[in-house]
Protein backbone atom coordinates (compact mmCIF):
# COMPACT_ATOMS: atom_id res chain seq x y z
CA UNK A 1 0.00 0.00 0.00
CA UNK A 2 2.71 2.46 1.01
CA UNK A 3 4.81 1.28 -1.93
CA UNK A 4 1.86 1.87 -4.25
CA UNK A 5 1.41 5.42 -2.96
CA UNK A 6 5.13 6.08 -3.28
CA UNK A 7 5.30 4.72 -6.83
CA UNK A 8 2.15 6.62 -7.73
CA UNK A 9 3.70 9.83 -6.47
CA UNK A 10 6.88 9.19 -8.50
CA UNK A 11 4.75 8.74 -11.63
CA UNK A 12 2.84 11.92 -10.80
CA UNK A 13 6.14 13.77 -10.48
CA UNK A 14 6.98 12.70 -13.99
CA UNK A 15 3.96 14.63 -15.27
CA UNK A 16 4.74 17.60 -13.10
CA UNK A 17 8.22 17.61 -14.64
CA UNK A 18 6.56 17.79 -18.05
CA UNK A 19 5.00 21.11 -17.04
CA UNK A 20 8.40 22.46 -16.12
CA UNK A 21 10.09 21.19 -19.28
CA UNK A 22 7.29 22.00 -21.69
CA UNK A 23 5.01 24.56 -20.10
CA UNK A 24 3.53 25.61 -23.45
CA UNK A 25 1.02 22.74 -23.54
CA UNK A 26 -0.67 23.31 -20.16
CA UNK A 27 -0.47 27.12 -20.57
CA UNK A 28 -2.26 27.06 -23.92
CA UNK A 29 -4.70 24.55 -22.50
CA UNK A 30 -5.60 27.01 -19.74
CA UNK A 31 -5.57 30.01 -22.05
CA UNK A 32 -8.23 28.28 -24.06
CA UNK A 33 -10.60 28.40 -21.09
CA UNK A 34 -9.66 31.98 -20.27
CA UNK A 35 -10.43 32.83 -23.91
CA UNK A 36 -13.80 31.04 -23.74
CA UNK A 37 -14.54 32.92 -20.55
CA UNK A 38 -13.74 36.29 -22.13
CA UNK A 39 -15.58 35.45 -25.33
CA UNK A 40 -18.80 34.44 -23.61
CA UNK A 41 -18.44 36.95 -20.80
CA UNK A 42 -18.08 39.99 -23.04
CA UNK A 43 -18.74 39.07 -26.67
CA UNK A 44 -21.92 37.00 -26.34
CA UNK A 45 -22.73 37.76 -22.72
CA UNK A 46 -24.47 41.05 -23.46
CA UNK A 47 -27.01 39.26 -25.64
CA UNK A 48 -27.71 36.49 -23.15
CA UNK A 49 -30.30 36.98 -20.46
CA UNK A 50 -30.22 34.85 -17.38
CA UNK A 51 -33.72 33.58 -16.63
CA UNK A 52 -34.63 34.48 -13.09
CA UNK A 53 -32.38 37.49 -13.26
CA UNK A 54 -28.74 38.13 -12.45
CA UNK A 55 -25.56 39.24 -14.16
CA UNK A 56 -24.31 36.89 -16.92
CA UNK A 57 -20.69 36.81 -15.68
CA UNK A 58 -21.96 35.64 -12.28
CA UNK A 59 -23.92 32.89 -14.03
CA UNK A 60 -21.17 31.96 -16.46
CA UNK A 61 -18.17 31.53 -14.20
CA UNK A 62 -19.18 28.50 -12.13
CA UNK A 63 -20.35 26.89 -15.37
CA UNK A 64 -16.96 27.50 -16.97
CA UNK A 65 -15.31 25.85 -13.98
CA UNK A 66 -17.49 22.76 -14.47
CA UNK A 67 -16.74 22.75 -18.18
CA UNK A 68 -12.99 22.88 -17.47
CA UNK A 69 -13.34 19.82 -15.27
CA UNK A 70 -15.18 18.03 -18.04
CA UNK A 71 -12.71 18.90 -20.79
CA UNK A 72 -9.97 17.43 -18.58
CA UNK A 73 -11.07 14.01 -19.81
CA UNK A 74 -9.08 14.75 -22.99
CA UNK A 75 -5.84 15.11 -21.05
CA UNK A 76 -6.34 11.84 -19.22
CA UNK A 77 -7.20 9.94 -22.35
CA UNK A 78 -4.35 11.37 -24.36
CA UNK A 79 -1.78 10.69 -21.64
CA UNK A 80 -2.98 7.10 -21.22
CA UNK A 81 -3.02 6.30 -24.92
CA UNK A 82 0.34 7.97 -25.60
CA UNK A 83 2.02 5.94 -22.85
CA UNK A 84 0.42 2.73 -24.09
CA UNK A 85 1.56 3.40 -27.63
CA UNK A 86 5.09 4.46 -26.73
CA UNK A 87 5.65 1.29 -24.76
CA UNK A 88 5.98 3.15 -21.46
CA UNK A 89 2.93 1.33 -20.12
CA UNK A 90 4.59 -1.96 -21.10
CA UNK A 91 7.77 -0.94 -19.32
CA UNK A 92 5.83 -0.04 -16.17
CA UNK A 93 4.00 -3.35 -16.41
CA UNK A 94 7.27 -5.27 -16.75
CA UNK A 95 8.58 -3.64 -13.56
CA UNK A 96 7.85 -4.79 -10.01
CA UNK A 97 5.33 -2.02 -9.34
CA UNK A 98 1.60 -2.45 -8.78
CA UNK A 99 -0.80 -1.55 -11.55
CA UNK A 100 -2.69 0.62 -9.06
CA UNK A 101 0.41 2.84 -8.81
CA UNK A 102 0.31 3.56 -12.54
CA UNK A 103 -3.32 4.68 -12.35
CA UNK A 104 -2.72 6.53 -9.11
CA UNK A 105 0.13 8.43 -10.72
CA UNK A 106 -2.10 9.45 -13.60
CA UNK A 107 -4.84 10.59 -11.17
CA UNK A 108 -2.40 12.62 -9.13
CA UNK A 109 -1.07 14.47 -12.15
CA UNK A 110 -4.50 15.16 -13.62
CA UNK A 111 -5.99 16.30 -10.34
CA UNK A 112 -3.03 18.61 -9.77
CA UNK A 113 -3.54 20.09 -13.20
CA UNK A 114 -7.25 20.58 -12.51
CA UNK A 115 -6.58 22.35 -9.22
CA UNK A 116 -4.22 24.69 -11.02
CA UNK A 117 -6.78 25.26 -13.78
CA UNK A 118 -9.47 26.07 -11.22
CA UNK A 119 -7.18 28.52 -9.45
CA UNK A 120 -6.37 30.37 -12.65
CA UNK A 121 -10.00 30.57 -13.81
CA UNK A 122 -11.19 31.69 -10.40
CA UNK A 123 -8.50 34.38 -10.40
CA UNK A 124 -9.39 35.43 -13.95
CA UNK A 125 -13.09 35.46 -13.06
CA UNK A 126 -12.54 37.67 -10.05
CA UNK A 127 -10.57 40.07 -12.26
CA UNK A 128 -13.46 40.48 -14.73
CA UNK A 129 -16.03 41.08 -12.04
CA UNK A 130 -17.17 37.71 -10.81
CA UNK A 131 -18.16 37.82 -7.15
CA UNK A 132 -18.46 35.03 -4.63
CA UNK A 133 -21.38 35.50 -2.27
CA UNK A 134 -20.88 32.65 0.19
CA UNK A 135 -19.00 31.61 3.28
CA UNK A 136 -15.70 29.68 3.22
CA UNK A 137 -17.40 26.33 3.91
CA UNK A 138 -19.68 26.74 0.90
CA UNK A 139 -16.75 27.82 -1.28
CA UNK A 140 -14.77 24.73 -0.26
CA UNK A 141 -17.83 22.59 -0.95
CA UNK A 142 -18.14 24.15 -4.42
CA UNK A 143 -14.50 23.35 -5.19
CA UNK A 144 -14.96 19.83 -3.84
CA UNK A 145 -17.99 19.28 -6.07
CA UNK A 146 -16.04 20.47 -9.12
CA UNK A 147 -13.04 18.24 -8.39
CA UNK A 148 -15.35 15.33 -7.67
CA UNK A 149 -16.61 15.57 -11.27
CA UNK A 150 -13.02 15.69 -12.51
CA UNK A 151 -12.18 12.61 -10.45
CA UNK A 152 -15.08 10.67 -11.96
CA UNK A 153 -14.01 11.68 -15.45
CA UNK A 154 -10.52 10.36 -14.76
CA UNK A 155 -11.92 6.87 -15.08
CA UNK A 156 -13.71 7.74 -18.28
CA UNK A 157 -10.44 9.08 -19.67
CA UNK A 158 -8.39 6.09 -18.51
CA UNK A 159 -10.93 3.70 -19.98
CA UNK A 160 -11.07 5.52 -23.32
CA UNK A 161 -7.28 5.86 -23.43
CA UNK A 162 -6.79 2.13 -22.87
CA UNK A 163 -9.53 1.04 -25.25
CA UNK A 164 -9.04 3.42 -28.14
CA UNK A 165 -5.52 4.29 -29.07
CA UNK A 166 -3.98 6.42 -31.73
CA UNK A 167 -4.37 10.03 -32.81
CA UNK A 168 -7.76 9.32 -34.44
CA UNK A 169 -9.36 8.25 -31.18
CA UNK A 170 -8.00 11.25 -29.29
CA UNK A 171 -9.33 13.53 -32.01
CA UNK A 172 -12.75 11.90 -31.78
CA UNK A 173 -12.89 12.58 -28.05
CA UNK A 174 -11.66 16.13 -28.55
CA UNK A 175 -14.55 16.70 -30.94
CA UNK A 176 -17.14 14.88 -28.85
CA UNK A 177 -16.47 16.82 -25.64
CA UNK A 178 -17.84 19.92 -27.40
CA UNK A 179 -21.43 18.83 -27.86
CA UNK A 180 -21.41 17.16 -24.44
CA UNK A 181 -19.98 20.30 -22.86
CA UNK A 182 -22.26 22.74 -24.65
CA UNK A 183 -25.39 20.62 -24.28
CA UNK A 184 -25.57 21.72 -20.69
CA UNK A 185 -26.51 24.80 -18.71
CA UNK A 186 -22.91 26.08 -18.71
CA UNK A 187 -23.52 28.93 -21.19
CA UNK A 188 -27.29 29.29 -21.39
CA UNK A 189 -30.17 28.17 -19.22
CA UNK A 190 -31.98 25.04 -20.53
CA UNK A 191 -35.24 27.00 -20.13
CA UNK A 192 -34.31 29.01 -23.23
CA UNK A 193 -33.71 25.86 -25.36
CA UNK A 194 -36.29 23.84 -27.28
CA UNK A 195 -38.08 21.54 -24.81
CA UNK A 196 -36.35 18.25 -25.65
CA UNK A 197 -32.91 19.84 -25.86
CA UNK A 198 -33.46 21.58 -22.55
CA UNK A 199 -34.33 18.24 -21.00
CA UNK A 200 -31.08 16.71 -22.29
CA UNK A 201 -29.13 19.67 -20.96
CA UNK A 202 -30.81 19.36 -17.56
CA UNK A 203 -29.79 15.74 -17.29
CA UNK A 204 -26.20 16.38 -18.32
CA UNK A 205 -23.89 15.63 -15.36
CA UNK A 206 -21.99 18.82 -16.18
CA UNK A 207 -25.19 20.80 -15.56
CA UNK A 208 -25.59 19.25 -12.14
CA UNK A 209 -22.06 20.23 -11.15
CA UNK A 210 -22.43 23.72 -12.68
CA UNK A 211 -25.71 24.34 -10.87
CA UNK A 212 -24.37 23.05 -7.57
CA UNK A 213 -21.30 25.28 -7.94
CA UNK A 214 -23.54 28.29 -8.71
CA UNK A 215 -25.62 27.67 -5.62
CA UNK A 216 -22.61 27.13 -3.38
CA UNK A 217 -20.78 30.21 -4.70
CA UNK A 218 -24.00 32.21 -4.23
CA UNK A 219 -24.41 32.96 -7.95
CA UNK A 220 -27.60 32.98 -10.07
CA UNK A 221 -28.60 29.52 -11.34
CA UNK A 222 -30.71 30.62 -14.30
CA UNK A 223 -33.76 28.79 -12.99
CA UNK A 224 -35.97 28.98 -9.95
CA UNK A 225 -37.64 25.60 -9.95
CA UNK A 226 -37.25 22.10 -11.31
CA UNK A 227 -35.61 18.87 -10.29
CA UNK A 228 -32.10 20.10 -11.09
CA UNK A 229 -32.21 23.36 -9.17
CA UNK A 230 -33.93 21.80 -6.19
CA UNK A 231 -31.46 18.92 -5.90
CA UNK A 232 -28.32 20.36 -7.51
CA UNK A 233 -25.80 19.42 -4.82
CA UNK A 234 -27.25 15.96 -4.44
CA UNK A 235 -27.10 15.41 -8.21
CA UNK A 236 -23.59 16.83 -8.38
CA UNK A 237 -22.55 14.19 -5.86
CA UNK A 238 -24.60 11.40 -7.42
CA UNK A 239 -23.68 11.81 -11.09
CA UNK A 240 -19.90 11.48 -10.64
CA UNK A 241 -20.58 8.57 -8.27
CA UNK A 242 -22.48 6.81 -11.05
CA UNK A 243 -19.75 7.59 -13.59
CA UNK A 244 -17.10 6.25 -11.22
CA UNK A 245 -19.14 3.14 -10.45
CA UNK A 246 -19.39 2.40 -14.16
CA UNK A 247 -16.01 3.46 -15.48
CA UNK A 248 -13.68 2.47 -12.64
CA UNK A 249 -14.46 -1.25 -13.10
CA UNK A 250 -14.38 -0.79 -16.87
CA UNK A 251 -10.92 0.81 -16.61
CA UNK A 252 -9.70 -1.99 -14.39
CA UNK A 253 -11.02 -4.50 -16.92
CA UNK A 254 -9.44 -2.65 -19.83
CA UNK A 255 -6.16 -2.71 -17.92
CA UNK A 256 -6.43 -6.44 -17.35
CA UNK A 257 -7.20 -7.09 -21.01
CA UNK A 258 -3.78 -5.63 -21.83
CA UNK A 259 -2.61 -9.07 -20.69
CA UNK A 260 -4.78 -10.87 -23.23
Amino acid sequence: MIATLKHGWIITQRDLLHWVKQPAGPIFGLMFFVMLLLMFGFLFGGAIEVPGGGDYIQFLLPGMLALTMMFGVENTMQAMSTDAQRGITDRFRSMPIGSAAIVLGRSGADMAQSVLGLAILVGGGLLIGWRIDAGPAAVLAAIAVLLWLRFALLWVGIFLGLMFRGPGATMAVQVLVWPVGFLSNVFVAPETMPGWLGAVAEWNPVSATATAARQLFGNPTGATEGLLVENAVLLAVAWPLVLTAVFLPLSARAYRTLRK
Binding site: R14, R86, G87, D90, R91, R259
Partner: protein, 320 residues
Protein backbone atom coordinates in the same frame (compact mmCIF):
# COMPACT_ATOMS: atom_id res chain seq x y z
CA UNK B 1 27.83 -26.53 -18.61
CA UNK B 2 25.95 -23.62 -17.20
CA UNK B 3 22.54 -23.92 -15.59
CA UNK B 4 19.68 -22.45 -17.60
CA UNK B 5 18.29 -19.12 -16.41
CA UNK B 6 15.25 -19.31 -18.61
CA UNK B 7 13.30 -22.50 -19.16
CA UNK B 8 10.21 -22.54 -21.34
CA UNK B 9 8.12 -25.63 -21.96
CA UNK B 10 5.36 -25.91 -24.53
CA UNK B 11 3.87 -22.41 -24.34
CA UNK B 12 0.66 -21.97 -26.30
CA UNK B 13 -1.28 -18.83 -27.08
CA UNK B 14 -4.15 -18.36 -29.50
CA UNK B 15 -5.61 -15.15 -30.83
CA UNK B 16 -8.88 -16.32 -32.35
CA UNK B 17 -7.84 -18.68 -35.13
CA UNK B 18 -4.19 -17.65 -35.05
CA UNK B 19 -1.80 -19.75 -33.00
CA UNK B 20 0.74 -17.12 -32.02
CA UNK B 21 2.58 -19.63 -29.83
CA UNK B 22 2.14 -23.25 -30.73
CA UNK B 23 4.33 -25.37 -28.47
CA UNK B 24 7.11 -22.87 -27.91
CA UNK B 25 9.96 -24.35 -25.85
CA UNK B 26 13.32 -22.90 -25.03
CA UNK B 27 16.20 -23.22 -22.61
CA UNK B 28 18.71 -20.42 -22.24
CA UNK B 29 21.97 -20.74 -20.33
CA UNK B 30 22.89 -18.16 -17.73
CA UNK B 31 24.96 -15.20 -18.90
CA UNK B 32 24.63 -16.08 -22.58
CA UNK B 33 23.09 -14.23 -25.49
CA UNK B 34 20.34 -16.20 -27.14
CA UNK B 35 18.89 -15.17 -30.48
CA UNK B 36 15.29 -15.81 -31.41
CA UNK B 37 15.19 -15.61 -35.15
CA UNK B 38 12.16 -15.64 -37.36
CA UNK B 39 10.08 -13.80 -39.92
CA UNK B 40 7.27 -11.38 -39.15
CA UNK B 41 4.42 -13.17 -37.45
CA UNK B 42 6.51 -16.12 -36.29
CA UNK B 43 5.51 -15.43 -32.68
CA UNK B 44 8.75 -13.85 -31.45
CA UNK B 45 7.12 -10.81 -29.87
CA UNK B 46 4.33 -12.83 -28.32
CA UNK B 47 6.98 -15.09 -26.80
CA UNK B 48 8.87 -12.12 -25.34
CA UNK B 49 5.67 -10.52 -24.05
CA UNK B 50 4.64 -13.80 -22.41
CA UNK B 51 8.04 -14.22 -20.74
CA UNK B 52 8.02 -10.60 -19.54
CA UNK B 53 4.61 -11.22 -17.88
CA UNK B 54 2.86 -8.77 -20.23
CA UNK B 55 0.72 -11.39 -21.95
CA UNK B 56 -0.99 -14.37 -20.39
CA UNK B 57 -0.61 -17.67 -22.23
CA UNK B 58 -3.20 -20.43 -22.67
CA UNK B 59 -0.97 -23.28 -21.50
CA UNK B 60 2.63 -24.27 -20.92
CA UNK B 61 5.18 -23.26 -18.30
CA UNK B 62 7.92 -20.65 -18.34
CA UNK B 63 10.29 -19.90 -15.48
CA UNK B 64 13.03 -17.38 -14.88
CA UNK B 65 15.53 -18.47 -12.22
CA UNK B 66 12.89 -20.95 -11.13
CA UNK B 67 10.10 -18.39 -10.77
CA UNK B 68 6.98 -19.17 -12.77
CA UNK B 69 6.06 -16.37 -15.16
CA UNK B 70 2.34 -17.06 -14.78
CA UNK B 71 2.06 -17.41 -11.00
CA UNK B 72 5.01 -15.45 -9.58
CA UNK B 73 4.70 -12.30 -11.70
CA UNK B 74 6.23 -9.91 -9.19
CA UNK B 75 9.22 -12.19 -8.52
CA UNK B 76 9.77 -12.44 -12.27
CA UNK B 77 9.41 -8.69 -12.80
CA UNK B 78 12.08 -8.13 -10.15
CA UNK B 79 14.47 -10.17 -12.29
CA UNK B 80 13.90 -8.97 -15.82
CA UNK B 81 14.50 -5.99 -18.03
CA UNK B 82 12.41 -5.41 -21.12
CA UNK B 83 13.18 -3.43 -24.23
CA UNK B 84 10.11 -3.75 -26.40
CA UNK B 85 9.65 -2.77 -30.01
CA UNK B 86 8.16 0.61 -29.16
CA UNK B 87 10.58 2.95 -27.39
CA UNK B 88 9.60 2.91 -23.74
CA UNK B 89 10.95 6.34 -22.89
CA UNK B 90 9.48 9.64 -21.88
CA UNK B 91 10.47 11.85 -24.80
CA UNK B 92 9.90 15.14 -22.99
CA UNK B 93 12.28 14.25 -20.19
CA UNK B 94 16.05 14.05 -20.56
CA UNK B 95 17.94 10.79 -20.71
CA UNK B 96 19.06 11.24 -17.12
CA UNK B 97 15.54 12.07 -15.90
CA UNK B 98 14.24 8.93 -17.57
CA UNK B 99 16.80 6.73 -15.84
CA UNK B 100 16.20 8.44 -12.49
CA UNK B 101 12.43 8.01 -12.90
CA UNK B 102 12.73 4.28 -13.55
CA UNK B 103 15.41 3.91 -10.88
CA UNK B 104 13.18 5.50 -8.26
CA UNK B 105 10.32 3.26 -9.29
CA UNK B 106 12.70 0.36 -8.66
CA UNK B 107 13.16 1.68 -5.11
CA UNK B 108 16.72 2.88 -5.61
CA UNK B 109 15.88 6.13 -3.81
CA UNK B 110 18.84 8.51 -3.84
CA UNK B 111 20.98 5.85 -5.51
CA UNK B 112 18.88 6.35 -8.64
CA UNK B 113 20.98 9.40 -9.55
CA UNK B 114 24.37 7.72 -9.27
CA UNK B 115 23.08 4.63 -11.09
CA UNK B 116 21.80 6.89 -13.89
CA UNK B 117 25.21 8.55 -14.21
CA UNK B 118 26.89 5.13 -14.32
CA UNK B 119 24.60 3.83 -17.04
CA UNK B 120 24.84 7.02 -19.11
CA UNK B 121 28.60 6.60 -19.05
CA UNK B 122 28.44 2.91 -19.83
CA UNK B 123 26.26 3.54 -22.89
CA UNK B 124 28.15 6.64 -24.00
CA UNK B 125 25.23 8.98 -23.51
CA UNK B 126 26.89 11.36 -21.06
CA UNK B 127 27.07 14.21 -23.57
CA UNK B 128 23.35 14.06 -24.29
CA UNK B 129 22.36 13.14 -20.73
CA UNK B 130 20.51 16.35 -19.95
CA UNK B 131 18.88 16.93 -23.33
CA UNK B 132 15.30 15.87 -24.02
CA UNK B 133 15.04 12.36 -25.44
CA UNK B 134 12.93 13.66 -28.35
CA UNK B 135 16.15 15.02 -29.86
CA UNK B 136 18.04 11.72 -29.64
CA UNK B 137 18.91 9.65 -32.71
CA UNK B 138 17.31 6.24 -33.11
CA UNK B 139 20.47 4.50 -31.93
CA UNK B 140 20.73 6.74 -28.86
CA UNK B 141 17.10 6.13 -27.91
CA UNK B 142 17.63 2.39 -28.17
CA UNK B 143 20.77 2.54 -26.04
CA UNK B 144 18.95 4.58 -23.42
CA UNK B 145 16.07 2.10 -23.60
CA UNK B 146 18.52 -0.74 -22.96
CA UNK B 147 20.19 1.22 -20.14
CA UNK B 148 16.76 1.72 -18.52
CA UNK B 149 16.19 -2.03 -18.62
CA UNK B 150 19.53 -2.65 -16.88
CA UNK B 151 19.08 -0.37 -13.86
CA UNK B 152 18.89 -3.33 -11.47
CA UNK B 153 21.22 -5.64 -13.45
CA UNK B 154 18.44 -8.11 -14.30
CA UNK B 155 18.87 -11.86 -14.56
CA UNK B 156 17.32 -11.76 -18.02
CA UNK B 157 17.20 -8.90 -20.49
CA UNK B 158 14.61 -9.17 -23.25
CA UNK B 159 15.32 -7.27 -26.42
CA UNK B 160 12.52 -7.35 -28.97
CA UNK B 161 14.01 -6.47 -32.35
CA UNK B 162 16.43 -3.97 -30.83
CA UNK B 163 17.73 -2.68 -34.16
CA UNK B 164 14.48 -2.56 -36.13
CA UNK B 165 14.20 0.72 -37.98
CA UNK B 166 17.75 1.87 -37.19
CA UNK B 167 20.30 3.04 -39.75
CA UNK B 168 23.55 1.01 -40.02
CA UNK B 169 25.31 3.30 -37.58
CA UNK B 170 22.55 3.02 -35.01
CA UNK B 171 22.59 -0.72 -35.48
CA UNK B 172 26.30 -0.91 -34.75
CA UNK B 173 25.84 1.22 -31.65
CA UNK B 174 23.17 -1.13 -30.35
CA UNK B 175 25.26 -4.20 -31.16
CA UNK B 176 28.10 -2.71 -29.12
CA UNK B 177 25.69 -2.07 -26.27
CA UNK B 178 24.39 -5.64 -26.34
CA UNK B 179 27.91 -7.09 -26.35
CA UNK B 180 28.72 -4.97 -23.32
CA UNK B 181 25.75 -6.45 -21.44
CA UNK B 182 27.21 -9.90 -21.82
CA UNK B 183 30.06 -9.26 -19.40
CA UNK B 184 27.68 -8.28 -16.59
CA UNK B 185 26.23 -11.74 -16.01
CA UNK B 186 22.84 -10.83 -17.45
CA UNK B 187 21.30 -13.37 -19.80
CA UNK B 188 20.06 -11.80 -23.01
CA UNK B 189 17.18 -13.07 -25.13
CA UNK B 190 16.91 -11.06 -28.28
CA UNK B 191 14.56 -11.42 -31.21
CA UNK B 192 15.53 -10.40 -34.68
CA UNK B 193 14.58 -10.78 -38.28
CA UNK B 194 18.14 -10.09 -39.31
CA UNK B 195 20.20 -13.22 -39.66
CA UNK B 196 23.48 -11.40 -39.58
CA UNK B 197 22.41 -9.80 -36.31
CA UNK B 198 21.82 -13.17 -34.68
CA UNK B 199 25.08 -14.41 -36.18
CA UNK B 200 26.95 -11.37 -34.83
CA UNK B 201 25.56 -11.35 -31.30
CA UNK B 202 24.13 -14.68 -30.25
CA UNK B 203 25.92 -17.61 -28.63
CA UNK B 204 23.00 -19.78 -29.62
CA UNK B 205 20.13 -19.26 -32.00
CA UNK B 206 16.61 -20.62 -32.01
CA UNK B 207 14.87 -20.34 -35.33
CA UNK B 208 11.17 -19.73 -34.90
CA UNK B 209 8.31 -20.17 -37.29
CA UNK B 210 4.56 -20.53 -36.78
CA UNK B 211 4.82 -20.14 -33.01
CA UNK B 212 7.48 -22.75 -32.29
CA UNK B 213 11.19 -23.33 -32.49
CA UNK B 214 12.08 -25.29 -35.62
CA UNK B 215 15.85 -25.41 -35.20
CA UNK B 216 18.31 -24.58 -32.49
CA UNK B 217 22.04 -24.47 -32.14
CA UNK B 218 25.20 -22.43 -32.37
CA UNK B 219 25.37 -20.24 -35.45
CA UNK B 220 28.17 -22.44 -36.82
CA UNK B 221 26.17 -25.62 -36.21
CA UNK B 222 23.15 -24.24 -38.00
CA UNK B 223 25.27 -23.35 -40.97
CA UNK B 224 26.76 -26.83 -41.05
CA UNK B 225 23.27 -28.30 -40.91
CA UNK B 226 22.65 -27.06 -44.43
CA UNK B 227 25.45 -29.24 -45.80
CA UNK B 228 28.46 -27.04 -45.50
CA UNK B 229 30.33 -25.07 -48.09
CA UNK B 230 29.93 -25.13 -51.87
CA UNK B 231 32.22 -24.19 -54.72
CA UNK B 232 30.73 -21.95 -57.36
CA UNK B 233 32.23 -21.35 -60.79
CA UNK B 234 31.28 -18.91 -63.50
CA UNK B 235 32.36 -20.09 -66.97
CA UNK B 236 31.57 -19.54 -70.64
CA UNK B 237 28.02 -20.68 -71.52
CA UNK B 238 29.07 -23.22 -74.16
CA UNK B 239 31.35 -24.99 -71.69
CA UNK B 240 28.76 -25.43 -68.93
CA UNK B 241 27.62 -28.97 -69.78
CA UNK B 242 31.07 -30.27 -70.59
CA UNK B 243 32.51 -28.81 -67.45
CA UNK B 244 29.65 -30.15 -65.29
CA UNK B 245 30.24 -33.72 -66.58
CA UNK B 246 33.98 -33.42 -66.02
CA UNK B 247 33.62 -32.20 -62.43
CA UNK B 248 30.99 -34.81 -61.59
CA UNK B 249 33.47 -37.47 -62.69
CA UNK B 250 36.39 -35.98 -60.78
CA UNK B 251 34.68 -34.96 -57.53
CA UNK B 252 32.05 -37.66 -57.50
CA UNK B 253 29.11 -35.51 -56.45
CA UNK B 254 26.29 -33.91 -58.49
CA UNK B 255 26.81 -30.47 -60.03
CA UNK B 256 24.00 -27.87 -60.19
CA UNK B 257 23.93 -25.96 -63.45
CA UNK B 258 22.49 -22.47 -63.59
CA UNK B 259 22.38 -21.57 -67.30
CA UNK B 260 21.04 -18.07 -66.71
CA UNK B 261 23.97 -17.06 -64.59
CA UNK B 262 26.50 -19.37 -66.28
CA UNK B 263 27.19 -20.83 -62.85
CA UNK B 264 28.08 -24.31 -61.66
CA UNK B 265 27.67 -25.19 -58.03
CA UNK B 266 29.10 -28.24 -56.32
CA UNK B 267 29.19 -29.36 -52.70
CA UNK B 268 32.66 -28.89 -51.24
CA UNK B 269 32.66 -31.99 -49.08
CA UNK B 270 36.37 -31.61 -48.35
CA UNK B 271 36.30 -27.85 -48.02
CA UNK B 272 39.22 -26.07 -49.61
CA UNK B 273 40.67 -29.41 -50.81
CA UNK B 274 37.62 -29.75 -53.06
CA UNK B 275 38.36 -26.29 -54.41
CA UNK B 276 41.94 -27.32 -55.19
CA UNK B 277 40.75 -30.53 -56.89
CA UNK B 278 38.35 -28.51 -59.04
CA UNK B 279 41.01 -26.02 -60.06
CA UNK B 280 43.33 -28.91 -61.04
CA UNK B 281 40.59 -30.55 -63.07
CA UNK B 282 39.84 -27.30 -64.90
CA UNK B 283 43.53 -26.86 -65.56
CA UNK B 284 43.83 -30.36 -67.04
CA UNK B 285 40.89 -29.65 -69.38
CA UNK B 286 42.24 -26.17 -70.17
CA UNK B 287 38.96 -24.57 -69.11
CA UNK B 288 39.21 -20.93 -68.06
CA UNK B 289 36.82 -19.97 -65.27
CA UNK B 290 35.66 -16.33 -65.14
CA UNK B 291 35.19 -16.64 -61.42
CA UNK B 292 35.58 -19.33 -58.81
CA UNK B 293 34.87 -19.20 -55.12
CA UNK B 294 34.35 -21.29 -52.03
CA UNK B 295 31.15 -20.15 -50.35
CA UNK B 296 29.92 -21.03 -46.90
CA UNK B 297 26.14 -20.90 -46.50
CA UNK B 298 24.76 -17.76 -44.91
CA UNK B 299 22.18 -17.96 -42.17
CA UNK B 300 19.73 -16.62 -44.73
CA UNK B 301 20.07 -19.83 -46.62
CA UNK B 302 19.77 -21.92 -43.48
CA UNK B 303 16.67 -20.01 -42.63
CA UNK B 304 15.09 -20.25 -46.06
CA UNK B 305 15.77 -23.96 -46.19
CA UNK B 306 14.20 -24.51 -42.77
CA UNK B 307 11.14 -22.34 -43.19
CA UNK B 308 10.34 -23.10 -46.83
CA UNK B 309 7.19 -25.19 -47.32
CA UNK B 310 8.25 -28.84 -47.50
CA UNK B 311 7.05 -29.24 -51.12
CA UNK B 312 9.59 -26.65 -52.19
CA UNK B 313 12.32 -28.61 -50.45
CA UNK B 314 11.30 -31.75 -52.30
CA UNK B 315 11.24 -30.12 -55.71
CA UNK B 316 14.63 -28.55 -55.06
CA UNK B 317 16.05 -31.94 -54.29
CA UNK B 318 14.52 -33.43 -57.43
CA UNK B 319 15.97 -30.74 -59.66
CA UNK B 320 19.31 -31.29 -57.97
Amino acid sequence: MNTPTLVVTDLRKRYGETRALDGFSLSVEAASIHGLLGPNGAGKSTAIRALATLTATDSGVAAIDGHDVATAGTRVRERIGLVGQATALDEILSGRQNLVLFGRLLNLGRMAHSRATELLEQFELTDAADKPVSGYSGGMKRRLDIAAALILTPAVLFLDEPTAGLDPRGRNEVWEAVRRVKGTGTTVLLTTQYLDEADQLADRISIMDHGRVIAEGRPSELKRQLGGARVELVIAAELLDHCARTLEAVIGSPVDVDYDNRTLSIAAGAGSQTLIDIVRALDNESIDADDILLRRPTLDEVFLALTAPSTDNASEKESA
